[in-house]
């Protein structure tokens, strides 16, 4: 093989390149994995925000165009496309209530709430539980939280409970001021990737599960869901 180089050049370069090895310590895979999960969640939240903005902008443009008869048919198509786009946010996982025999048991966990009180999921057996994974930086999550406060107030006497699990990286530093400002009336805990992994890996936020009275997962919503959908599902599970 023709190289045409000074034979010493190779080892001269190798010597200098070898100096880089001292900066290549052992990577912490657990920290890397945790960082990767955080980045995935943030990317998912960004995607959701963009889709909402796009959908809202297109709908606004369509409304303007509706004012002109000649372009009304075109505008009607735009509106239906926007509706489809927005409905895609109700995303990928099955969001209808599963038949009772096909449900899986919700993985149990114990976490401390903002007051340090232990909250154990299995202690809520006999009640319908809405388990919401969220974060303070997640815009769609912030839309849902006032609904959950109202659900807790309205349906608690009928055997219903909301549990919030925040996946904020800085934990209570962000979450405590937020829940105090919102006056949440249900337990909020700080979760982590280990808990997320128990639930199949929580990548998109919000992710909300409805757990039936026997502790099985009846509904899983990934992304923002409508208030009426939640309400219908809660009522259905309460009468099972």
């Amino acid at each position: 093989m023709e190289t045409g180089s000074d034979p010493k050049t190779g080892s001269w370069v190798d010597d200098r390149m070898a100096s880089l090895n001292t900066d290549a310590g052992n990577a912490d895979a657990a920290r890397g994995w945790s960082l990767l999960q955080q980045q995935r969640r943030k990317a998912a939240a960004r995607r959701t925000r963009w889709t909402w903005s796009l959908s809202a902008a297109a709908a606004a443009a369509a409304v303007v165009v509706l004012g002109f008869p000649l372009t009304r048919a075109f505008a009607a198509r735009c509106v239906s496309a926007c509706v489809e786009l927005a409905s895609s946010l109700h995303t990928s996982l099955p969001s209808t209530t599963r038949a009772e025999h096909g449900r899986k048991l919700a993985p149990d966990f114990t976490l401390a709430d903002a007051n340090g009180k232990a909250v154990k999921l299995s202690d809520y057996r006999g009640q319908v539980v809405l388990l919401n994974f969220w974060a303070t930086w997640c815009q769609p999550c912030q839309r849902e939280i006032p609904w959950f406060i109202e659900f807790q107030q309205q349906y608690r006497p009928h055997g219903f409970a909301v549990l919030g699990v925040s996946l904020d990286e800085d934990g209570w530093n962000s979450v405590k001021p937020y829940i105090e400002a919102k006056k949440t009336n249900y337990p909020v805990m700080i979760g982590n990737d280990a808990l997320g992994a128990l639930y199949g890996g929580i990548v998109d936020l919000p992710t909300t599960l409805l757990i039936d009275k026997s502790g099985h997962i009846a509904v899983m919503h990934v992304g923002l869901c409508s208030r009426s959908d939640y309400e219908g599902e809660i009522k259905g599970l309460l009468v099972e």
């Binding site: 200098r16 993985p107 149990d108 280990a194």
Partner: protein, 178 residues
């Protein structure tokens, strides 16, 4: 985190998550090391390594048997791109800073200076030559370098030799033959 999850009960995991988790467990150490050799800042190197895996999870052509070579190639390219960005930024920062930051004890050591010189030369070389030098110095054989960079294996020797000459020439031009 004040409590710990208690019992693990089966729940169908997402398919892509499992794939990503498997490849991450197998390759993260190598990929993070390759990037850490190029970049001076360990935190940025870690961040970039994670970005490589995220990009992999969104690239369908990189799945399956092609995964390892793709990860290696992308890691080397991403780290060199970042190195060039940092080098470009470094040219202007002295104009904006109120004064130079005091050197850390580590920076005072000549070994750190050596590494910075090697990085500066790598940033100045044509990308393909810098990639070959990095992969070769990471212990890859000619065949492996050819596979990762999608090159003809028979031309690796010649091109590597040219890269070495270019490296030495640039290094000597900047810092002398020491």
């Amino acid at each position: 985190m004040s409590g710990t999850p208690e019992a693990i009960v089966d729940l169908a995991p997402g398919d892509t998550r499992l794939d990503l988790e498997t490849i991450f467990a197998a390759q993260y150490g190598r990929i993070a090391r390759v990037i850490a050799r190029v970049l001076r800042d360990p935190a940025r190197a870690e961040e970039l390594a994670v970005e490589v895996f995220l990009k992999w999870s969104r690239t369908s052509a990189a799945q399956g048997l092609a995964a390892e070579g793709w990860l290696y190639r992308t890691a080397v390219r991403a780290s060199l791109d970042e190195l060039r960005r940092q080098t470009r930024r470094g040219r202007f920062e002295p104009l904006l800073d109120s004064g130079p930051a005091p050197p850390t004890p580590e920076e005072l050591q000549s070994s750190q200076e050596d590494r910075d010189r090697v990085r500066a030369v790598l940033a100045a070389l044509p990308p393909r030559q810098a990639e070959m030098l990095l992969l070769r110095s990471d212990g890859l054989s000619y065949e492996e370098v050819a596979s990762v960079l999608e090159m003809n294996p028979s031309s690796v020797g010649t091109l590597l030799s040219r890269a070495q000459q270019a490296f030495r020439k640039e290094f000597v031009k900047r810092y002398g033959d020491r």
